[in-house]
Amino acid sequence: MSQVLVVTSGKGGVGKTTSTAALGAALAHDGAKVVVIDFDVGLRNLDLVLGAERRVVFDLINVISGVAKLPQALIRDKRLENLFLLPASQTRDKDALSEDGVAKVIEELRTKFDWIICDSPAGIERGATLAMRYADAAIIVTNPEVSSVRDSDRIIGLLDSKTVKAERGERVDKHLLITRYDSSRAARGEMMSIDDVLEILSTPLLGIIPESEEVLRASNVGSPVTLNNALSAPARAYFDAARRLKGEEIPMLVPSKGYRFLNKLFGRKAA
């Protein structure tokens, strides 16, 4: 059974594309067949983060408009043979992204992949609502910061009302992924803690990704952080999150900076 996931947040710059790439690579690394789709029409970047920017020929809108067949537009990752990318178009015409077109593409992908991960653009406009439209589950990427948490709350409201599942009276499974977390600042009361964010958003926690230099280092070279340095703190946190997505029970660690090796065991149950 294939799972359609949307990686969303409302606010921009919180780590949706980084997380899509990292989780997609982690799931593919563990053997699943994964496709990541960039829904950010006009401002695609998932290709760049995955290091596939020079191999883009066709895109999502070409497939929807019939210019290209789906297999022609899918780009196979150079490192993982079961990881694929469906890039966004660079066209400025966002209306080219039609609801029926997206539905057809996702239906076709469901027959070929275990995981279909939709990387949502920021905001709540067409691209973002279509990215979540057909999702079975959602990953809400949040920074422990007021504007990000507020926007996540708004997105959670949309997931509960504007998705196909919600309209059928079912629920989209929601998972909170807290990124750019700095445990030492949280301990000093300079940053909201994991508990603060969970209490406000009351959404199950999928993982805690620490603030880390490794994330920028990986995107600089066009590699998901989970492949670029699999032993780094953010990579391990993403691998754990990917396993929780598959239903495994993994203890939730609050990652700290690399040189502080003591991870505090939290004992909270995973999402």
């Binding site: 007021v146 000093r188 603060d196």
Partner: protein
Amino acid sequence: MSLFDFFRRSSAPIARERLQVLLAHERIARSKPDLLGLLREEILAVIARHVSFEPDKVQIKLDRGVSVSTLEVDIEIPSGLPAT
């Protein structure tokens, strides 16, 4: 550590409280129309039916709190007498 540092350091609880108040209101606003906004519009409509006032002489202040919110509508109504 100075007193300034002490206050600066515990900003996270302020963030949490501000969000809790804000989101409580925004969640209600999503499920039903904004009561205070509705009141503001209807109050202004009723007054406009009886007296004419200049829209820029209307001051509206809104403060959303946890248990109580206030809507303050301050309208300058011309008395009809020539200005002295």
